[in-house]
């Protein structure tokens, strides 16, 4: 049997340093009180603190992500999964918790505790976010190319020609017709807007991309194309991703490991096939058995 050369170049991932370590992320909307965490969660059946009426969107969430890994987070709306992503992308300020990214200061510095300027650096160089609604990630009235240029301008590129070259390359990869590069995405279909958003996300080669319900609300054929694109980008660029979705089908397609969230907590974390075939938590079992 003829077999490819032994891939000895690949590092033993489990022993290697994780790309992201998230420790005890807490996000409370409202005043908060000492009972908030204890009196909310799946056991309480709510994320609203009965004493102070604060919402515990994320209660003590911890996870580790390996380089190149696609991690899924599934749960119903209001389970806190999008808040988790928004905290990681600095769209929201966590109430407590720590996050370490290996490409930033060798993972020794808590990125939740750095200055706004440094956060901007991390956000634009080390992270990418693809929002469910393209208008959150794109300026719909700035050309597709201009949107991609913006990311590069944030990173200090000051050369129009080089930015246009990179925009062409990325739009080609994301299957956006190049003759529409100088048009504003407002004129594009939803699926194409989403692909422009993905191209923009990739502009500075971030090692970690966050995907927030990227296919929700789109036609099935558009969903399929976007998911195929994400899969092939993940593989060819070696991107690590965190994909948040309420759709187990999307998670099955993308993620190797999956966390199930309910009422602001991770109720179960495991290999995606194990979550789907041998769900442990009652909520996961309900989720899996409710699949169409």
């Amino acid at each position: 049997m003829s077999i490819a050369p032994a891939p000895s170049a690949v590092p033993p991932a489990a022993d290697a340093q994780p790309l992201l370590v998230l420790e005890r992320l807490l996000k409370i909307y409202g005043e908060g009180c000492p009972d908030c965490v204890a009196r909310t969660g799946p056991a309480a059946g709510t994320n609203v603190c009965p004493r102070c009426r604060s919402v515990v969107a994320c209660g003590d969430l911890s996870l580790r992500l390996d380089p190149g890994e696609i991690f899924g987070i599934v749960g119903e709306s209001g389970s806190g999964k999008s808040t988790l992503l928004r905290c990681l992308y600095f769209d929201e300020t966590p109430t407590a918790g720590h996050a370490y990214l290996t490409p930033y200061e060798a993972g020794r510095v808590d990125v939740f505790a750095i200055s706004p300027q440094r956060r901007r650096y991390v956000r634009h160089h080390l992270l990418g976010m693809v929002y469910q609604h393209p208008h959150l990630g794109l300026d719909l009235d700035t050309s597709a190319g201009g949107n991609i240029a913006e990311k590069m301008l944030m990173a200090g590129t000051r050369h129009v020609g080089r930015m246009r070259e990179r925009a062409r390359e990325l739009l080609g990869r994301t299957e956006v017709p190049l003759d529409r590069m100088d048009e504003p995405p407002r004129r594009f279909s939803g699926g194409m807007q989403q692909r422009v958003q993905i191209a923009k996300t990739l502009a500075n080669n971030p090692p970690l991309v966050l995907l927030d319900e990227v296919t929700t609300g789109q036609d099935v054929s558009v969903q399929a194309r976007v998911l195929d694109l994400i899969r092939s980008l993940g593989r060819s660029l070696g991107l690590a991703m965190i994909a948040v979705s309420h759709d187990l089908g999307v998670i099955r397609l993308l993620a190797q490991r999956t966390a199930v969230m309910k009422n602001g907590r991770i109720v179960e974390l495991g290999l995606t096939d194990q979550i789907l075939e041998d769900p442990q938590h009652p909520y996961t079992q309900l989720l899996v058995s409710s699949q169409l």
């Binding site: 300027q117 050309s143 190319g145 913006e150 944030m154 050369h159 129009v160």
Partner: protein, 295 residues
């Protein structure tokens, strides 16, 4: 101060330079902060003035707060000493101070200007006061003040850069004719007031203190002497000043000054004259003197 000048001021019934001394001090306090943080917009509390907002109240309050009896004042509007706005501002200042005025850029100690920097090189003993309608360079791309302040604080100027990028993609070049955004001391991006691009390079490492006042928007900012002032430009699309295609001033023949286009109604033809009238007059006078001196 000459007794006659004091008399002029007293006769107006107002404090010297119209504003009360406490108000002047507050403006100067804001200006000190502005000088300490080049290009940064500092809020100040404008006073009621006998001219309407939008007619140079910001610049006027800076001038009134700084002017002393020995100062020599020049006020210009688009390079001209004679336009209505310049005349009125000059009249208000002289009636309440009694200071001498001049049209000669070289003789002035304080030059208040709307939309131009004089062609004559300025010196360290002069102060240039700009009247500013829109102090926020990010207003083009962001309507919210909260956001623009955050963007300045974080040096997040990418959207302004995108604006320039889009301009280049659409028109082949940056089309901003005036208010061209500049970066001051390598940090804050600043609106240099609606001066033409022609004047932007004059701000770079100028020995003259530049003070900017926006009355309606309640902001002052400054360029201290010898400060780096760099227009935003791309490596492959450098900043360029206006090109008059080889045209010269019809009056003085200058080919090295900012020119205003004028349509001759009789002939329907367009011709050019210097925007800076003082500069133009002096060239004409100098030319006449030369001719007179010639044998």
């Amino acid at each position: 101060m000459r007794a006659a000048d004091l008399l002029v001021a007293r006769r107006s019934g107002y404090n010297f330079a119209f504003l009360d001394e406490h108000s002047k001090r507050e403006v100067r306090r804001a200006l000190l902060k502005a000088v300490a943080i080049p290009g940064h917009q500092v809020p100040f509390a404008p006073r009621e003035l006998p001219i309407a907002l939008g007619w140079g109240t910001g610049g006027l309050q800076i001038t009134l707060s700084l002017i002393g009896p020995r100062d020599v004042l020049k006020v210009i509007d688009q390079g001209s000493d004679d336009s209505v706005n310049a005349v009125n501002l000059r009249r208000l200042i002289t009636r309440t101070t009694g200071v001498r005025t001049t049209t000669d850029t070289r003789r002035a100690t304080i030059i208040q200007t709307r939309h131009r920097v004089p062609e004559e090189s300025l010196r360290a003993d002069q102060v240039l006061v700009f009247q500013v309608p829109y102090p926020e360079p990010l207003r083009r791309v962001e309507p919210s003040d909260v956001q623009t302040r955050r963007m300045h604080a974080e040096q997040d100027y990418s959207r302004l850069w995108v604006y320039l990028y889009e301009d280049i993609v659409r028109w082949g070049d940056v089309t901003i004719p005036h208010r061209y955004p500049v970066r001051v001391h390598g940090r804050y991006v600043m609106d240099p007031s609606p001066i033409p691009r022609w004047d932007v390079p004059k701000l770079h490492r100028s020995p003259t203190l530049g003070l900017f006042g926006a009355g309606r928007e309640k902001r002052v900012y400054a360029i201290p002497p010898h400060t780096r002032v760099e227009p935003l430009e791309f490596d492959d699309h450098p900043f360029r000043v206006e090109d008059f295609g080889g045209e010269r001033c019809r009056r003085c023949g200058s080919g090295r000054s900012f020119l205003s286009a004028i349509y001759d109604r009789a002939t329907g033809r367009r011709y050019y004259v210097c925007s800076d009238t003082d500069y133009c007059e002096r060239r004409i006078a100098g030319g006449a003197a030369q001719r007179a001196a010639a044998p």
